[in-house]
């Protein structure tokens, strides 16, 4: 019991009063205005379907994976998706490992409602064999740093990961044409999910007696605020979900104002997500082009069989670097004849031994 108390974050009375009085003059502790979002950075991992979002000090990682399963009985031709939220103990000393707590479940439910009930993710395209096999998409959200406003960051991470996820192509083949073959990514290009729109969550906090509204509260402001409102909207002007679970009562006019601001912010965030996804897709297709023979699909197969070893990357041994960005694989060389391949390998071995010697 003592340990739990030692872990939780308590604010002093001075801190609380400072935040409230500063807000009366429209100043927030980190220098933002009441309706400014923190800096949003969206990065992607090396695999499809993994994203890392940083919203100010809050960091969330999302992974999307897919599996073939039998469908639910009442929806035989629709795929399924499920969201699993993990409040990692590394995010906050008060997060306990093990079963998700109330706030983790609430966050998962808000993100889930935004995606599922607004039909953002097209589930009918996930059906492979009606009534027998459908794709089940699993979204894992890991909160790794709690800087406040986890809902928004987790929602953006989920959307970004879903946009870059690719599921393997399935065709019917075999002897009788009834066997289902799941093609690995290097044989047939995997397919992206069909996402109709982006439901973006925008969270507002109500602080103080006059219920001053702030957008994107930090964890200090969350400890002070009397109530919170999360509105999930998309750029089409649809309200996908609204969550206001208890807290101080708020005037209707204030809620309407919040919704109006939220639709503007949703537009900003959607364009940021789309830009990030686009640049990721461009990089991904550049990598693919360099790997395969650009002449035709048939020679793709041939070249794969003849030169299985040329899927190699040149990497240098970084001895003294402590870079903070992920390095993407350097260009690969394709060779047509066996002779060239041998020369290539000889060159690469020479290079790598000279690297090892120079280090």
């Amino acid at each position: 019991m003592e340990q739990r108390l030692a872990n939780s974050f308590t604010m002093t009375v001075n801190d609380k009063q400072f935040i409230e009085t500063a807000l009366v003059s429209d100043i927030r502790v980190d220098g933002r205005r009441p309706f400014d979002y923190r800096n949003l950075t969206i990065r992607f991992g090396s695999e499809d379907g993994s994203s890392e979002v940083q919203l100010g000090q809050t960091q969330v990682i999302a992974f999307v994976t897919g599996q073939l399963v039998p469908p639910y009985r009442d929806r035989p031709n629709e795929g399924t998706f499920a969201i699993f939220t993990e409040f990692s103990p590394m995010a906050d000393p008060s997060f306990e490992p093990g079963r998700p707590g109330d706030s983790a479940i609430e966050l998962g439910r808000i993100v889930d409602r935004g995606l599922r009930e607004s039909r953002a993710v097209d589930t009918e395209s996930l059906c492979v064999v009606a009534g027998k096999l459908v794709w089940s998409i699993r979204i894992d959200l890991h909160i790794i740093d709690n800087g406040g406003n986890l809902v928004d960051a987790a929602n953006i991470a989920a959307l970004a990961a879903l946009s870059t996820f690719r599921r393997p192509e399935c065709t019917f083949g075999g002897e009788d044409g009834q066997e289902l073959i799941v093609h690995p990514p290097d044989v047939m290009e995997p397919l992206p999910l069909i996402i109709h729109h982006f439901p973006v969550a925008v969270t507002f906090g109500f602080i103080g007696e006059e219920n001053i509204v702030v957008i994107d509260p930090t964890y200090h402001e969350e400890a002070v605020m009397g109530g919170a409102l999360t509105a999930t909207l998309n750029t089409n002007g649809d309200v996908c979900a609204i969550q206001k679970a208890g807290g101080d009562g708020v005037l209707q006019s204030v809620i309407m104002q919040c919704l109006r601001i939220a639709s503007v912010k949703a537009g900003d965030i959607t364009s940021k997500i789309k830009n990030a996804v686009e640049s990721y897709n461009t990089q991904r297709s550049l990598k693919k082009i360099k790997r395969h023979n650009p002449s035709s699909a048939a020679s793709k197969e041939e070249s794969r069989q003849v030169n299985p070893e040329t899927k190699s990357t040149q990497q240098s041994c970084d001895i003294n670097s402590s870079a903070s960005t992920l390095s993407i694989g350097s260009p690969e060389e394709q060779s047509e004849t066996l002779k060239d391949e041998v020369k290539l390998k000889h060159k690469k071995r020479k290079k790598s031994t000279s690297n090892a010697n120079s280090s």
């Binding site: 590394m90 070893e309 990497q315 003294n320 402590s322 903070s324």
Partner: protein, 257 residues
């Protein structure tokens, strides 16, 4: 002319055979590890944090501590280390428990446990991507996070992975595909080389192995050749770790307050 043509083919055949001797999928030599990217201070709330990437394998580690009190079954005379391993997707299973146990025992041997008795230091490891050599990557990340948090340590631990191919060759730092297709592989953890003021003429003492986890079957001689290769690689890696951790020292204020 005809003889010249034959010689050219013969040369190419020899080159091909030579290149096939140590043939790794990504073009590395047997003794070459993947490039390492180590970043400290990745997280804001944690007292110490680090991210360690070896090629495509990436792990984030966070440290909270020392916190007051130890768990029930732990010795209150010493500091207690608690490890939580978070896999990329899915529930924590037996594999994760095993990693937690190995990591805990490894870190217990490098931490100075008598400095803060009756305290708990929690290390949380999050797997971001697994492309082979996951446990060594996590051990390296955890050590860097402990340095970032300022937990007193005897020395750093440096972990690498060596694998034994069917052909009898020993490869350093295998990728996931190589790990799955080789006969056996071993995770080795060595203490990092100490840079102390030694009296002139004395030799550096032989350092032992802190942790060794093997998978698969290998002969005793093969194991020793893995250890030899691993020790050489660890010495080089520990220089890199020392340089990269030195760069950021002294600027950060304590977050434990």
């Amino acid at each position: 002319m005809f003889i010249l043509f034959k010689l050219v083919i013969y040369e190419n055949a020899i080159l091909l055979l030579k290149s096939m001797e140590v043939d790794r999928l990504d073009g590395r030599t047997a003794n070459q590890r993947r490039p390492v990217v180590c970043t400290r201070g990745v997280l804001h709330r944690a007292h110490g944090s680090a991210s360690w990437a070896q090629g495509e394998t990436k792990v984030i580690a966070a440290v909270y501590g020392p916190k007051a009190g130890t768990k029930k079954n732990e010795n209150p005379e010493k500091a207690c280390i608690e490890v939580i391993w978070k896999p990329k997707t899915g529930q924590s299973g037996k594999q994760e428990r095993e990693f937690e146990m190995v990591l805990k025992k490894t870190l217990q041997s490098i931490c100075l446990l008598n400095v803060h008795p009756n305290t708990t230091t929690s290390i949380i490891v999050q797997v971001v991507n697994d492309d082979g050599a996951l446990l060594p990557c996590a051990i390296n990340a955890a050590c860097s996070a402990l340095v970032d948090a300022g937990i007193p340590l005897k020395h750093l631990a440096v972990a690498i992975c060596c694998c034994m191919a069917e052909s009898g060759h020993v490869f350093l730092d295998p990728s996931k595909l190589e790990e799955q297709t080789t006969k056996a592989f071993v995770y080795l953890v060595f203490p990092s080389s100490t840079m102390s003021v030694l009296p002139q003429g004395s030799e550096v003492k032989e350092h032992g192995i802190i942790t060794s986890v093997t998978h698969g079957v290998m002969a005793v001689d093969d194991y020793f050749s893995c250890v030899k290769m691993g020790r050489a690689a660890a010495a080089e890696l520990s220089d890199y770790v020392r340089n990269s951790l030195k760069l950021k020292a002294g600027n950060d204020l304590s977050k434990a307050g």
